[in-house]
């Protein structure tokens, strides 16, 4: 399977990873190699097989509905790239 420019641009948008114009072919080639590996799966007969999402046959546990966390925004925001007045900051979002 070989990817073209359109697919690479689409994946780049999904993943929010920039692929520079002059890198598109190289990225397409490398991703295509990996997708070729995936085609090996086609041969396997998986009819009637349940998909397995998890190695454990366990079920979800619960936590009690109690507040256990304290305010630690100062500690968390000390490592934030940009914060002011206890808010994380991003370039303006126009809605």
């Amino acid at each position: 399977m070989s990817l073209g420019k359109t697919e690479v641009e689409y994946i780049s948008r999904l993943a929010q990873i920039e692929v520079r114009e002059d890198d598109v072919d190289g990225v397409a080639a490398k991703l295509s190699n990996i997708l070729d590996l995936f085609t090996q799966m086609e041969a396997a007969d998986t009819q009637g097989i349940e998909p397995m999402a998890h190695p454990l046959d366990a079920v979800q546990r619960f936590r009690a509905d109690v507040v256990t966390e304290v305010d630690q925004h100062e500690k968390l925001q000390a490592i934030a790239p940009s914060a002011a007045q206890a808010h994380y900051l991003v370039p303006q979002v126009i809605e």
């Binding site: 998890h54 256990t68 966390e69 305010d71 968390l76 925001q77 007045q85 206890a86």
Partner: protein
């Protein structure tokens, strides 16, 4: 040619949990920015979700109330998209296996007709944070306090065919979730959010393209927005255009809907099972545990009020409009030994409710409790005071002057029921008004009202009106 309208609603109900759906951070509204966003809610590296037990029972309760199939095995999925208020870059939600499956809800329209609206599903998910503008110019601030708050997204079938039906459904669901105590219903704080999917078509044709109306926080505006969106779509089609699938916002000042100017590339959310969470299993025991604490639902309560207390449909509907009011009313009835439920209903729906509305208070923080109101009504029933004096007593109670008995005592409002005393008043009035007595005897029976008024006035309003009438009639006819 006629048009058919097709509406489906997606309602996000914030569940009344103390902590978040996947973390131990508080959900209290209005806290300082990011003070309730723990590392899990902020999507920090290495952090993991563990499911809040409280969401299980609340989901089962809604499922039972909607007569729905329960998702005995439900699965959390990741819905992938980038946005600053979505800290992990995905929302944890339920796609293929929701916790509540197909159910239904009956609505009643203004003309009294009833209609059953299908509920496709209700699934658990986490809420996002909030964007805040104006902190730093050119920047948007992110507050993650709401991030991770537990939501049930309740999705209806596209069964509604008018704005009125849609609002009746939304109101009914709003009443229901509050009755169940699973959501506080506060629309201003965003605890109950309604998104409407609206489309139109010619009868017999397949479904038209729908537009989604989002972020409308009152029923009145939901109705208006749907109405003008229907008009807009019909206009677009009739003038040869095509309806575009998009999200539209309602501008209540201009009374128009307008397209949300986001890049309309089709979303590809890449749902897949969340590997940090395991399948959620509901056992029969879980369902039973909810069944025994399940409150009586509004429709059942309404019917019971009509049959047990002989109330009108209207009164029963008003009283069951909220669970708190219904419980208040039933308490008053019980405390007055159910001697006059109708009178209890009148006081609850008029005097008491009017005072609440006037002062913007809720039942929980009203100055007159069910005990106090019952105390006063008991004095009406035992003829200690008249209905008219009761209004005075009620106002005094509302002002915090004490219980009905204390007020009646301190203000000397007790009704005069002593026959001798009333007889003396009657005699006095008749003796002082010979001309009017003559006129009465000459056939002017309306003079009766004049005499009663004079006697009540002389008694300071405290004479028992029934006894006054009886004695007066006897004397005049003698």
């Amino acid at each position: 040619m006629s048009w058919e309208v097709v509406i489906g609603l997606e309602i996000h109900a914030q569940l009344t949990t103390k902590s978040k759906i996947f973390s131990g951070a508080s959900t209290e509204y209005g806290a300082a920015p990011n003070s309730q966003a723990c590392p899990i809610d902020a999507g920090m590296p290495g952090m993991l979700p563990v499911l809040n037990h409280a969401v299980l029972g609340k989901s089962i309760m809604l499922g039972l109330a909607l007569d729905a199939e329960l998702g005995m095995r439900s699965v959390f999925d990741r819905k992938n998209y980038f946005y600053p208020d979505s800290p992990k870059g995905y929302q944890t939600t339920q796609m293929d296996f929701p916790i509540v499956g197909q159910g239904k809800l009956e609505i009643e329209l203004e003309d009294g007709t009833k209609k059953v609206i299908g509920v496709t599903r209700a699934h658990l998910e986490e809420d996002a944070g909030k964007s805040v503008h104006g902190i730093v110019p050119g920047q948007t601030g992110i507050d993650l306090n709401r991030s991770g708050t537990a939501l049930l997204e309740i999705v209806s079938d596209p069964d509604m065919s008018s704005a009125k039906e849609a609002v009746a459904y939304a109101k009914k669901m709003h009443e229901l979730v509050q009755y169940l105590g699973i959501c506080d219903g506060n629309m201003q704080e965003g605890s109950f959010r309604v998104d409407s999917n609206v489309s139109v078509r010619r009868p017999g044709e397949p479904l038209g393209t729908r537009a989604e109306l989002k972020n409308i926080n009152s029923f009145k505006f939901i109705e208006k927005a749907i109405e003008i969106e229907i008009e807009r779509q019909i206009e677009v089609i009739e003038s040869g255009g095509k309806v575009v699938q998009e999200t539209r916002l309602y501008d209540s000042e201009k009374d128009i809907t307008r397209s949300m100017r986001t890049k309309e590339e089709a979303n590809d959310y890449r749902y897949f099972p969340c590997p940090d969470l395991l399948p959620v299993i509901i056992t029969e025991a879980d369902v039973e545990a909810v069944r025994v604490v399940m409150p009586e639902l509004p429709d059942a309560k309404r019917a019971r009020f009509v049959s047990d207390f002989n109330l009108s449909d209207y009164d029963a509907a008003v009283l069951t409009g909220s669970r708190a009011m219904a419980e208040f009313f039933e308490k008053v009835v019980a405390l007055t030994d159910a001697k006059d439920p109708k009178m209890c209903a009148n006081w609850a729906t008029s005097g008491f409710s009017a005072a609440l509305n006037r002062d913007g208070l809720s039942i929980e923080n009203a100055p007159v409790s069910a005990d106090m109101l019952a105390g006063m009504i008991s004095r009406i029933i035992d003829n200690s005071i008249s209905g008219k004096i009761a209004k005075q007593v009620f106002d005094a109670m509302w002002q915090g002057e004490g219980s009905a008995d204390e007020i009646i005592e301190s203000k000397g409002l007790k009704q005069i029921t002593d026959t001798g005393a009333i007889e003396a008043l009657v005699d006095d009035v008749l003796a002082n008004n010979p001309d009017q007595v003559e006129a009465y005897k000459g056939g002017q029976e309306k003079m009766m009202g004049y005499f009663v008024g004079q006697i009540m006035k002389a008694s300071g309003g405290q004479a028992n009106p029934g006894q006054v009438n009886k004695l007066l009639t006897a004397k005049l006819k003698a």
